[in-house]
């Protein structure tokens, strides 16, 4: 603390009702917004004489949230570490093809197909991480470069859907318990696992440390390189899981299934909407899942209201910027009160 700072911040300001403000973390805001959205959506859809949260509606929301949720969980780790991954969209397409082609319609090849897809995904993540740490390329450029390489490979090798997923494996995409798809529960399980990893384990803490300030982390003997590489491998594996899930839903692999949905920028949007700082070091998976469900619920409401699909993009853009502006205001307000959270 410098003398200047001590003189300019009045001491009394530091102790103003911390309890109330602390309670409203970005995560809380996300879930309050989600609840409000569900209420407003139900009323709007109700005015048309329909029900938003009936069996089909809940199924719709969960199905939309599954694929994006998986990508966004991985993206959360990359962003928390102060990095980001623009290659996930092409990787989703690539892994869906690898899984479907390895399976080739045979039940016996399900496990090898899934494993091969995950290994390739981990390999791509390793390349991302090594390009960033060893070649010292900016994460934006490194993953954009890898994305372009994957795109070149996909465009050169495939012209359309390929491979065949056996019927047994399609259960993963279509089975459900009540209105909730099994795959959505698996996605939530992955989210819970990531939450545990990020908030209860040493490598998880290291991710926050590296994202907060890489120099301080390095001087505190945090293995920064290993942490960044790990974050990218996990991010890519999550994208690989998405590819496998989409293959089981589509019944085959599709090269552009990831890019058509815009999973690269969409997942970043979901993570940031969930209150994670784009610069890294603050946030978490819980908020991300909230962000994903907000986007999925918005889509479902618009579908029910039969709004022009392109209007969704407009609303999404506005929601995204508004949310981040709110978080930024809270942070500056807290800074002015002399607090860091």
């Amino acid at each position: 603390m410098s003398a200047l700072e001590e003189n300019t911040v009045p001491v009394t300001r530091k102790v103003t009702r911390p309890a109330f403000h602390r309670r409203l973390t970005p995560v809380a805001i996300v879930y309050i917004a989600l609840a409000a959205l569900l209420v407003v959506g139900s009323v709007l859809v109700g005015l048309r004489g329909e029900v938003l949260l009936d069996q089909a509606g809940i199924l719709n929301i969960f199905t939309r949230a599954t694929a994006l949720g998986l990508v966004a969980i991985g993206q959360t780790m990359a962003i928390l570490t102060g990095s980001l991954d623009l290659s996930v969209a092409y990787l989703v397409g690539l892994t869906s093809l690898i899984a479907a082609e390895t399976m080739g319609g045979r039940d016996g090849m399900i496990v090898p197909g899934v494993l091969l897809a995950l290994v390739v995904a981990a390999g791509v993540g390793l390349v991302n991480g090594l390009v960033i740490t060893v070649l010292k390329a900016n994460a934006f450029i490194a993953t954009l470069g890898v994305a372009l390489i994957l795109r070149g490979y996909l465009e050169d090798t495939y012209t359309g859907p390929a491979g065949d997923v056996p019927r047994g494996f399609q259960h993963l995409g279509y089975d459900r318990i009540g209105p909730v798809p099994v795959a959505a529960l698996l996605m939530l399980a992955v989210a819970a696992l990531s939450w545990w990893y990020l908030s209860r384990t040493r490598p998880g803490y290291h991710m926050y440390a590296v994202g907060g300030d890489i120099e301080v982390a390095r001087l505190s003997v945090v293995p920064t390189r290993r942490t960044i590489v790990t974050a990218h491998v996990l991010c890519s594996v999550a994208a690989g899981l998405t590819g496998i899930y989409l293959a089981s839903r589509l019944g085959s692999g599709a090269p552009y299934v990831g890019t058509d949905a815009g999973y690269d920028l969409e997942s970043i949007a979901a993570v940031v909407l969930g209150g994670t700082l784009l610069a890294g070091g603050r946030g978490g998976v819980v908020g991300t899942i909230g962000g994903v469900f907000i986007l999925a619920t918005l889509d479902t409401i618009f579908d029910d209201l039969e709004v022009d699909p392109f209007f969704k993009d407009v609303v999404r853009g506005v929601v995204l910027v508004t949310a981040v502006a709110l978080y930024a205001r809270r942070m500056t307000a807290n800074r002015a009160r002399g607090r860091l959270t």
Partner: protein, 337 residues
């Protein structure tokens, strides 16, 4: 002391790459034996170079502008719809498109500086809004047609005494490039780079960082509108004109040795990066590399360029015959890890 050309830091590598590519073109393609071939290349590259110049302003001041691709699409689609083939509307529609670009840049800049939202998110939101709004407005299939007067800037050429027929787009490009280079030499330009390097220092020394950033976004939006007018000239009217241009422009800027995160790089190098990218695509075409692999090559090249820039000083030091003293700034490594 050895003589060194006066080039901004990081400019030399891209110029070498550009020169190699141009020599490669001369060897590979018969069309590049004479100036007209290179003039055609420059004409094709003009929109991307202009976008790269705009993107440079934003990147060097520490931001990103992901909305330029969508803005280019919006410019072309709006112009086609408003002109609808009538020649008399050309002039005010051009002004309208430029004003639209200015407005989008202004919104990007204001939200970034006043609401403190990271520019990556602001311009991503703008991309979504513009894309959605354009599709909403056109129903997915743009209507209308551009007038010959509008297309003149992209297609036409004027007779210049010595060179012969020079395309309008090349003249516009050169004018913008010269203006940008002059601007970056002036006080405001230098302050812009300084704001990207160390925001707090600029603020403490009385620089208005917010205004500088706002200016960068406005210039980027305006130049994207100019690029859309040029592209409208030689591309057909579709809702996909600008697809992926934002990443291509960022690639070009990075290829020009400009540091992502701001504070380093020159605008001429950014434009040279865009020209190199276009020359590379032309060369790959001539060599018969399939269009699909083009993006893979682009990916390898940008990673290599950034890695060279990041590791370059070390590599250069080792390659130098008489190495200078070791870098004294490097902090001591911790004992373990």
């Amino acid at each position: 002391m050895t003589w060194r050309p006066r080039l901004a830091e990081g400019t030399a590598p891209v110029l070498v790459v550009l020169l190699l590519l141009l020599v490669g073109l001369a060897i590979a393609g018969p069309a590049y034996d004479e100036p007209s071939g290179y003039l055609a290349l420059l004409k094709r590259a003009a929109p991307l170079m202009i976008l790269a110049i705009g993107q440079y302003f934003v990147i060097v001041s520490g931001g990103f502008d992901l909305s330029v691709g969508a803005l280019v699409t919006a410019g072309v689609v709006i112009a086609a719809r408003l002109i609808n083939g009538s020649e008399s509307a050309t002039a005010w529609v051009i002004l309208f498109v430029l004003g639209f670009g200015l407005l989008v840049g202004l919104v990007n800049g204001l939200v970034t500086t006043k609401l403190l939202v990271p520019s990556f998110i602001v311009t991503l939101g703008m991309l979504l809004v513009l894309d959605g709004a354009i599709f909403l407005w056109t129903g997915g299939a743009p209507r209308g047609a551009l007038s010959a007067g509008f297309r003149m800037f992209g297609r036409g050429a004027v007779d210049v005494p010595v060179l012969g027929a020079v395309p309008w787009s090349v003249l516009i490009l050169l004018a913008i490039l010269a203006a940008a280079a002059l601007f970056m030499r002036g006080g405001t330009g230098r302050a812009l780079v300084a704001a990207g390097d160390n925001e707090a220092a600029v603020r403490l020394s009385g620089g208005r960082v917010d205004r500088l950033r706002l200016l960068a976004f406005v210039l980027s939006g305006l130049l994207a509108a100019v690029a859309s007018i040029l592209l409208g000239g030689f591309a057909s009217v579709s809702a996909q004109v600008g697809n992926g241009l934002e990443f291509r422009a960022i690639t070009a800027v990075v290829l020009g040795g400009v540091l992502l995160g701001g504070g380093r790089g020159s605008v001429v190098a950014a434009a040279a990066g865009a020209l190199s990218l276009e020359a590379l695509f032309t060369l790959l075409n001539l060599l018969g590399v399939s269009g699909a692999l083009e993006s893979a090559v682009q990916g390898v090249i940008i990673i290599a360029a950034v890695a060279y820039a990041a590791l370059g000083s070390g590599v250069r030091q080792r390659l130098r015959l008489w190495p200078k003293q070791r870098n004294p700034e490097r902090p001591a490594q911790p004992a373990s890890s």
